[in-house]
């Protein structure tokens, strides 16, 4: 299977959008493109599984290498394993849903859909790359559209938020660049040249002092993308100001770029440093989990609630990575998928409510279940998934992380696990507060009584995401079987590190 | 016939040059500034011609350069005046102080 298609499809979709005449054409093209991506992603999954079933044991499948800029050894090297496929599937789900919820985007629609597709292009490129410089390149491709999406189509203090987001993420990118250059210049292949190639790098042992020097750069850099404490403040402002689809893309896709990078680049390539610094990661992750949850409790704006809860939930991803056991890392990947789906769903529901009531303040809403049952049900499902109800994806991923974390026998790590477990109670508090006030209770505003329920495109968007959540929640073994070979390799590398 | 020494000519051209510089810095009217620039160019021309004549009389390079400079000065004047006319159309003034939008 040719993975370059994941770049060509979005590229052609984006170009086609530029030639479209009106909103109708634009959104049809965008949706068609998104559906094609989805089909392609599913096909990738099936081909991958077939290939694995037929006994192909290589670390990455469907590899392809092409020199890109030979003097600096930059290569266009692509390939996938189960972890990347999970991420690609997640991306394709969210792209479809995101395009469906922005169905009636009237202002500058051409540019809007163009940027959405461009963002997805960056994400796909990031997930298929096996050359860390190419990876970095695609990471940057995914940053710029976010700035424009928030700055132009946002609401509230959008300029501030867009600027903050772009600057903080750029800061993260700068750290990542230092990190990957550190890796690059300490690498030496058989010919003596340096390399950016992930697979080659993973077979070398970078000297431990160098690892210790550059691991923080790479990890914190990617960590900023996934809202590591204390660099998470772009998340609430950015999400709150962004238009619905952009919020979904931000939380669902771009925060995952960070988690994936932390795992694939920082932890995988510098395992000794990961062991040495794991207590720092755990500390920051635990703070993010608990403190994000408590901060969420005090928010009054639905989008801020969801954004802060994202900080808390992404803390689980970092916790899972930091615990360095196979189960916990598997859980971290599952949590990325699960968080992506459910946060996107939550933002979609909030966007639907906001587009009707023109407010996101919890205090001003009430009794929506009676007026818009479908949207309210979606909201409740997103909430229940977020507080880890069995049957939805949140439960399986969080439980996997807890089980994995508990295997780390250090007392302090145990304490961190217990605190992380405790956060699920706080999560229940804020989710139920939000739902109890907005969805249930008496209707607060008589104007709301005439509002309409979801339109077909919104329903489709919600159903796409809910189906994803339920598939993961009901049949977690599918996802686990997909991920586990990938995490096993990372764990082996970490295990080698601990032995020498 | 006693020749005029080179230094005299150089004095003249430096005088001319700094008159041009002074004009460029003090005048606000763009036409005058353009004239000042022309003065500076011409002082350079004088230098070229006189160095050619006094130091390398067997060569013609200095003369060629002068012709180049004159040509370029003409083109420059054409472009500059076009800019000035456009500026006048948009700002109703050819005062440089009035056209300072291109700042921080």
């Amino acid at each position: 299977m040719n993975l370059t298609l994941f770049l060509l499809f979005p590229l052609f979709t984006a170009l086609a959008i530029l030639f479209a005449q009106n909103l109708k054409q634009i959104r049809s093209i965008a949706l068609a493109g998104a559906l094609l991506q989805l089909v392609l992603a599913v096909k990738l999954l099936l081909t991958y599984n077939a290939e694995r079933a037929s006994g192909n044991k290589s670390q990455m499948l469907f590899e392809y290498i092409q020199d890109w800029f030979a003097p600096l050894h930059l290569q266009y090297h692509i390939g996938v394993d189960g972890i990347s496929i999970a991420m690609i599937l997640l991306t394709s789900f969210i792209v479809v849903a995101g395009i469906l919820v922005s169905w009636s985007m009237e202002t500058l629609s051409k540019e809007f859909f163009f940027l959405l597709i461009l963002l997805s292009l960056g994400a796909y490129g990031f997930f298929i790359s096996l050359d860390i410089f190419t990876m970095f390149f695609f990471l940057e491709v995914a940053v710029i559209p976010k700035f424009l999406l928030i700055g132009i189509w946002g609401s509230g203090k959008k300029e501030y938020s867009a600027m903050k987001l772009a600057l903080m993420l750029m800061g993260g990118s700068a750290l990542i660049m230092v990190g990957i250059f550190g890796i690059y210049f300490s690498s030496h292949t058989s010919t003596g040249a340096h390399t950016f190639d992930l697979l080659l790098l993973s077979k070398m042992n970078i000297p431990i002092e160098i690892q210790k020097m550059f691991f923080p750069f790479a990890f914190i850099g990617f960590g900023i993308f996934t809202a590591i404490f204390p660099f998470h403040t772009w998340v609430p402002d950015g999400h709150a100001s962004a238009p619905t689809a952009a919020s979904m893309f931000l939380a669902g896709i771009s925060m995952k770029l960070g988690g994936y990078g932390c795992l694939r680049v920082a932890t995988f390539l510098m395992p000794d440093a990961a062991h040495a610094y794991s207590w720092v990661i755990i500390l920051l992750a635990t703070i993010a989990i608990i403190y994000g949850a408590f901060a969420t409790m005090m928010q009054t704006d639905l989008k801020y609630i969801n954004a802060y809860s994202s900080v808390s939930h992404c803390g689980f991803v970092l916790l899972g990575i930091g615990m360095l056991t196979q189960t916990s890392i598997t859980g971290a990947v599952m949590q990325m998928v699960s968080h992506g789906l459910m946060t996107a769903l939550f933002f979609a529901a909030i966007g639907m409510i906001y587009s009707r009531t023109h407010t996101r303040m919890v205090a001003q809403l009430g009794g929506l279940l009676k007026i818009m049952p479908f949207i309210s049900t979606v909201f409740v499902i997103a909430g229940l998934s977020s507080l880890g109800l069995p049957g939805f994806s949140g439960f399986v991923s969080e439980m996997t992380i807890f089980m994995g974390s508990w295997q780390n026998t250090d007392q302090l790590y145990r304490l961190a696990t217990i605190l992380a477990c405790a956060s699920i109670v706080v999560t229940a508090v804020y989710i139920l507060r939000a739902a109890g006030k907005t969805i249930m209770g008496p209707i607060t505003n008589s104007h709301y009584e005439h509002l309409s329920d979801a339109s077909w495109n919104e329903k489709m968007a919600a159903l796409v995401l809910i189906s994803g959540i339920i598939i993961v929640g009901m049949a977690p073994f599918l996802l686990i079987n997909l991920i586990q070979p990938g995490t096993e390799i990372i764990i082996n590398k970490l295990g080698v590190a601990i032995n020498h | 016939m006693s020749e005029i020494p080179l230094t005299h000519i150089l004095f003249l051209s430096s005088g001319l040059f700094f008159i041009g510089v002074y004009g460029l810095f003090t005048r606000r009217n763009m036409i005058t500034m353009l004239m000042s620039v022309e003065l500076m160019l011409n002082s350079v021309n004088i230098n070229f011609v006189s160095f050619n004549k006094y130091l390398y009389p067997e060569k013609l390079d200095g003369i060629f350069f002068t012709i180049f400079v004159i040509t370029i000065a003409a083109a420059e004047a054409a472009v500059a005046i076009a800019i000035i006319i456009n500026l006048y159309r948009s700002h109703h003034s050819i005062d440089v102080e009035d056209a300072s939008e291109m700042k921080y």
Binding site: F231, F294, A428, G436, I439, M440 | -
Partner: protein, 644 residues
């Protein structure tokens, strides 16, 4: 294994009802939802009964001992080798009993709701939620894996949340549903960590293997978990206590009981199902499920169970004497009776005749399910007629609602422990067991049983006697036949359930218990109960001043009891003042001002610096020319003076 696969259908049918009614109910089944749900449940109940027959009479016994049989096992979520959440079905005596109880009571509630909930706009949704609850509860009792039980545990919690908050426009219902969910969720936190502890040492989540590994003396797993300790308490005790914390939360044991009285905001049939007969006994079920580990390996943890249960039983009974909302009286009475079941487990030992407490606990669970759901359904019928929960709005209803009256009386006699009603038999077993093992607990139990008789008859007289009926309620009638049938059926069961030979079926080790309680032993508890009834008769049969005078005499104690000993206020203080004001608010402030402030400060510094130097970019051509010439002049000077 002769156990038929249809057991799988028992939980799946309600699930199917939930899905069908939840997704399509509003559109297509807005009227027929009740019938669909009830028929589905009827099938489940019949299958449960058939399973019970099959198990108890045909295939459950091997060599005279009832077996634990795993019917299905399917690896759902593999964590690491050997440790996985499996979806399985484990059949043993308590599972079979719970299957019958849950599906039967649920069927009764389905039937009763046909009349009770008629005309609700969300009729189909109601039945969908009932289906979801029944599914989760059945799944819970069938679980073969400790994580599977946690999974269904959470589902039960959420369906209880949905049902309590069914009248979602009522702020009090929303608050109650939130409270129920959050309090039990907090308890579940303990359960979860308990699972983590136990599974870490036992290297499995499967009940059968877990119990075997943690009870076999000298097994490496048991040694490891006993050797590990934290704060001087062994990991096993920690694990079991944390698991018990989860059970105490669901079963409304002190101090995690505060959600149960508020949960009465839900529709009354729901209270009968969830908060009387099924979900609240999940904690008892959980302890019973892990009973071998408690009893054989860790008596210390079992002591905690015993004292918690005994204290809750007494504490709730005292409060129940002072409440005026009839559903709240029943709620506290439920808490008290569950306390009975808990301490019965606590006083029990594992094997042989010493397992009397375990058997008594299960027996009481069985009989309690019938008479308590009967009480709730009866209360529901009364509320349906009077449109109020308060005792003062009732009185003299015995003429208007004869069937309700009789069945309510039977249930009151049963709960008071008057022979030959079912409650008598189960209570006697429990009292006997506690008498043999711990005299203090026995004394508490005896006292509580007197109190129980008193407050139940206070309730009974206040509803049906007391004062002449307020006649304008009369036109309502007693309700449809669908509401009466469950009352009659349950009343019959409340009478006869005591004769079911539980002692030979449900015991800790699977062997039958043959000892019976001597009549002489019964004299004391029964006479106490009769005394309680007589006292209630004196005080409440006809309206008089006496109860009020006594209340005034009791002064502070009465007030404290009627305010539920201020436990709610303590919780409110902890959540509002401490969690919100001392943690939440500072966290939000810290985030906004310190963390984000730091980022903004960085941005401000950058902006300030650029402010300082931006003057050079003035937009004036002549300034630029000046810099240019200045630069050239500087370079020239540098060349001339600094070159070489």
């Amino acid at each position: 294994m002769s156990h038929p696969i249809y057991i799988v259908l028992i939980p799946l049918i309600p699930l199917a009802c939930f899905l069908v009614l939840g997704i399509f109910g509003r559109k297509y089944f807005s009227n027929s939802a009740g019938i669909i749900g009830t028929l589905g449940l009827l099938t489940s109940t019949l299958l449960s009964l058939s399973t019970a027959y099959e198990y108890f009479f045909v295939s459950g016994k091997v060599n005279g001992v009832f077996q634990k049989i795993e019917v299905v096992n399917f690896t759902w979520l593999q964590f690491s080798p050997g440790v996985s959440i499996d979806l399985g079905i484990l059949i043993d005596p308590i599972t079979v009993m719970m299957l019958v109880v849950v599906s039967f009571v649920s069927l009764m509630v389905h039937l009763f709701s046909l009349g009770y909930m008629k005309g609700e706009t969300r009729f189909a949704t109601y039945y969908a939620f009932l289906g979801l609850f029944t599914f989760s509860m059945l799944g819970l009792v069938l679980s073969s894996n400790i994580f599977q039980i946690y999974l269904f545990w959470e589902l039960v919690g959420v369906s209880s949340f949905l049902l309590i908050g069914f009248y979602f426009e009522k702020p009090s219902a929303v608050a109650a549903s939130k409270k129920a969910f959050i309090v039990t969720r907090f308890a579940d936190l303990g359960f979860l960590i308990g699972i983590l502890v136990l599974s870490f040492y036992a290297h499995t989540l499967n009940f059968g293997i877990l119990i075997e590994r943690l009870t076999t003396a000298g097994s490496p797993y048991l040694n490891a978990i006993n050797a590990a300790s934290f704060l001087g308490v062994s990991a096993l005790t920690w694990g079991l206590l944390l698991v018990f914390m989860g059970g105490a939360g669901k079963s409304a044991m002190f101090p995690l009981h505060i959600w149960l009285p508020d949960a009465m905001e839900g529709p009354t049939p729901v209270s009968a199902l969830i908060h009387a007969a099924t979900m609240v006994v999940a904690g008892v079920f959980l302890v019973a499920r892990l009973f071998p580990v408690f009893a054989l390996s860790d008596p210390a943890a079992l002591h905690v169970v015993m004292y918690t249960g005994a204290f809750s039983a007494f504490f709730a009974a005292v409060i129940a004497c002072t409440q005026t909302d009839i559903k709240r009286v029943l709620a506290y009475s439920t808490m008290s009776q569950i306390g009975y079941m808990m301490f019965a487990l606590g006083v029990s030992k594992y094997s042989g005749e010493d397992g009397l407490g375990y058997m008594g606990s299960m027996f009481h669970l069985f009989t309690h399910a019938f008479f308590k759901s009967l009480l709730f359904l009866g209360a529901g019928a009364v509320i349906h007629m009077v449109h109020s929960n308060e005792m003062k709005d009732m009185g003299g209803l015995r003429k208007l609602m004869p069937i309700t009256h009789i069945s309510f009386l039977i249930a009151c006699l049963a709960i008071a422990g008057i022979p030959p009603f079912s409650g008598f038999f189960s209570k006697e077993e429990i009292l006997m067991a506690s008498f043999e093992s711990n005299k203090l607990v026995y004394a508490i139990a005896l006292l509580t049983s007197g109190l129980t008789a008193f407050y139940m008859f206070r309730l009974y007289y206040s509803i049906f006697w007391s004062k002449p009926a307020d006649l304008h309620h009369g036109h309502h009638g007693e309700g449809t036949w669908t509401m009466k049938i469950p009352l009659i059926l349950l009343a019959v069961l409340a009478v006869v359930a005591g004769f079911v030979p539980i002692s030979s079926w449900i015991t800790a080790d699977g062997n039958a218990i043959h000892s019976s309680v001597p009549i002489s032993f019964s004299i004391l508890p029964v006479s106490l109960a009769v005394a309680g009834i007589l006292l209630a008769t004196r005080l409440f049969k006809t309206a008089n001043e006496l109860p009020e005078r006594i209340a005034i005499q009791m002064g502070g104690l009465y007030k404290a009891a009627s305010r539920k000993f201020y436990i709610d206020e303590v919780y409110l203080f902890i959540t509002k003042k401490i969690l919100f004001n001392l943690i939440g608010r500072p966290a939000a402030w810290f985030d906004k001002n310190i963390v984000d402030g730091f980022m903004n400060l960085l941005a401000k510094i950058t902006a300030g610096l650029s402010e300082l130097i931006k003057g050079f970019q003035s937009g004036k051509v002549q300034d630029y020319a000046l810099y240019f010439f200045g630069g050239i002049a500087g370079l020239i000077i540098a060349f001339i003076y600094l070159w070489k």
